[in-house]
């Protein structure tokens, strides 16, 4: 999930020496990519005339396109490099963020939550909150989402520029402006339709650019068992290749976390919050052409998500096995002149196996990942700003074309604010850590509010609003407590051996619980909405269309079971 994938400190990577030099053919490959994404935006402009076209891609996406785009929007940011670095640092534990930290949530989204997002015909997640809990809950959610989204977009932009500077020696300001202008151009022209089309393209490029590392790496090590043997030989006593057996106690694994934090903090709260309520990803799903496609899209995304460790986690593990040097943490770079950081593992592996042409493809994969995430942020921001802030609070009755124009210009403004954030971070990199933490504050409580709203008809507008506020406030409070007194982590994460990753998981868990308890408490003391106002919004008041008449292979629930079974098997294999 994007908000938690940027490995802290990547932007601090020092050293002016570039890791990779590109040949002419590599540069042609990268240039062709930019021509393609802009060309797609120009082509699609004529198909985006109405608000439904611009903000929801006409609600005409097939399950495959919506599903791949759903996943690609998350593959942005520093997903590829950050998690490959985490795999080098923590071993296969990092794969929890792809499996238990994603698959159950995606299945839950598909089978339980999508019907309400889809049937209610909402334009956004804050829009659902408006229908279910009223204007205050929408306003709180929309303003926080809009604000954080452009900030995150700016951070991603800066991070990409920094990575390109470290890897290729490219000028940072040029990278920022070229990537910003490209994303602004194609989202401005074609709105969500253009963003989704390009995300599918970017998804394919990411796979084809990064998969080769895993293939050649496994050839070099003699397969999985050969890789494990090499890791044991190079790091005796450390366990980098088991997912669950080191999670009994905080001190038994390099993440400093236990199974409770992973299962309940990551699996039940953070991933549920991110994958089911972050509008960046949900927007792709509700653009599907019908309810069945909308339900299938996250399941297709889940199927591919389970495979992403092949191009992210496996290269990190292969780096442990084959790289001649030992990589270090960002904070240790100053004490180890000439060393590379964990976050450099993917480009180092790229340079190890890929010559001219393939190197260009690999770098294009990285750029595609960055741009898909950035476009996801910008298109989601444009929708929430236009529908949930501008139309709701500033200009309530204007023509559809007026809102489309607002959406287009808001894309440009969003990108410019992102560029401003990128410059701000360039001069004060510590801001980035805070902004990422802030983003996480809203995710867990939002899930509590939305899921209670969908499943419990007794939840009242006041309960929804105060639950959301209390959950967010408690997350901020817990974070400030540990910031001012680091020893408080033993209370937040239930162990003095807990590390920051565990603190994040447990903070989300407490925030989600406080949100739920507050929502329930306030709801019991206030008057609920009548059932007739909850049709299409709440489980017990809504008739969900039956899929019983469909052949088994066309039913989303069947494919959800298949994905769930594979997920369980993977846990057993890598236990």
């Amino acid at each position: 999930m994007q908000a938690f994938t940027i490995t802290p400190g990547l932007w601090q990577a020092g050293g002016e020496a570039r890791l990779i030099s590109l040949s002419t053919v590599d540069e042609v490959i990268i240039a062709l990519y930019f021509v393609a994404v802009i060309g797609i935006g120009v082509y699609l402009k004529k198909y985006t005339k109405t608000g439904e076209d611009f903000f929801l891609a006409g609600r005409e996406m097939t399950a495959w396109v919506a599903g791949l785009s759903f996943l690609a929007a998350n593959l942005g940011s520093l997903e590829l490099m950050g998690w490959a670095g985490s795999a080098y640092q923590y071993g296969i534990l990092a794969a929890h963020w792809y499996w238990i930290g994603a698959i159950p949530a995606m299945i839950f989204l598909a089978l339980v939550m999508i019907p309400f997002y889809y049937i209610s015909k909402t334009h956004s997640v804050p829009g659902y909150l408006k229908l279910r809990f009223g204007e205050p809950a929408r306003a709180l959610s929309a303003v926080s989402f809009g604000f954080m989204t452009v900030l995150m977009s700016g951070i991603n932009m800066f991070s990409m520029a920094k990575v390109m500077n470290v890897i290729l020696g490219w000028d940072m300001e040029l990278s920022i402006w070229v990537s910003a202008a490209t994303v602004a151009a194609y989202v401005f022209l074609g709105g969500l339709l253009s963003a989704i089309f390009n995300e599918v393209l970017q998804f394919v490029l990411i796979w084809l650019g990064a998969l080769l590392i895993a293939i050649v790496g496994l050839i070099e090590t003699g397969g999985w068992s050969g890789m494990v043997a090499r890791i044991h030989e190079r790091f005796p006593g450390a366990d980098y290749t088991h997912m669950w057996r080191t999670l009994g106690h905080f001190q038994d694994n390099p993440m400093g976390i236990n199974w409770i934090g992973i299962v309940f903090g990551l699996g039940a709260v953070i991933s549920m919050g991110y994958w089911t309520t972050d509008f960046l990803v949900v927007q792709r799903v509700i653009s599907a052409k019908d309810l069945r496609s909308a339900k299938l899209a996250p399941i297709i995304g889940a199927g591919f998500k389970m495979l992403v460790p092949l191009i992210v986690i496996l290269p990190g593990l292969l780096g442990l096995a084959v790289l001649p040097m030992k990589l270090v943490g960002e904070n240790d770079l100053a004490m180890n002149p000439g060393a590379h950081s964990y976050n450099d593992v993917l480009p180092l592996m790229l340079a190890r196996y890929c010559g001219p042409g393939l190197l260009g493809l690999g770098i294009t994969a990285l750029i595609a990942g960055f741009m898909s995430g950035m476009a996801g942020n910008v298109s989601a921001f444009a929708t929430v700003w236009t529908y949930d802030i501008y139309r709701a609070m500033i200009r309530k009755s204007a023509s559809d074309s007026h809102y489309v124009a607002m959406g287009r210009w808001c894309t440009v403004i969003g990108v410019l604010v992102s560029v401003g954030t990128a410059y701000l971070v360039m001069h004060a990199s510590s801001i980035m850590d805070y902004v990422q933490e802030l983003f996480s504050f809203f995710i867990a409580p939002l899930f509590g509010t939305v899921v209670l709203g969908m499943l419990w008809k007794r939840a009242t507008p006041a309960g929804g609003f105060w639950g959301l506020l209390a959950g967010t406030g408690s997350a901020v409070g817990l974070w400030l407590w540990v910031k001012s007194d680091p020893s408080a982590i033993q209370y937040v994460a239930l162990s003095p051996a807990a590390k920051p990753m565990a603190e994040n998981m447990f903070r989300a868990l407490w925030a989600g619980l406080i949100c739920a308890l507050t929502t329930v408490g306030v709801s019991m003391a206030t008057t609920p909405k009548p059932d007739r106002e909850l049709v299409g919004l709440v489980y017990s008041c809504t008739e969900i269309p039956s899929e019983g008449h469909l052949p088994l292979l066309q039913r989303p629930v069947f494919w959800a079971c298949v994905v769930g079974a594979v997920f369980v098997v993977l846990q057993i294999i890598f236990w």
Binding site: Y33, Y47, V65, L208, V216, I219, V322, G355
Partner: protein, 70 residues
């Protein structure tokens, strides 16, 4: 997703992969006798990966060419 007359995204993907495939395959062939200084250069990854991209790109370019329908 397919409105009247709209070109499929898979066609654009096919075209780009075809261009990439030709470029990478061509580079691999040119460098066959003096491969780049990478690990396992003897595998000539650029040749077979380039051929794979060319194959996929050709298939998608034709399968989803404008006017062919779904």
């Amino acid at each position: 997703m397919q409105r009247e007359g709209m070109i499929s995204i898979w066609f654009f993907i096919g075209l780009l992969l075809l261009a990439y495939g030709i470029l990478i395959l061509g580079t691999g062939i040119v460098e066959w006798s003096s491969p780049p200084a990478v690990v396992h250069a003897e595998l000539h990854a650029a040749v077979w990966w380039g051929a794979l991209l060319t194959g996929i790109g050709t298939f998608y370019s034709f399968r989803f060419a404008p006017g062919k329908g779904k």
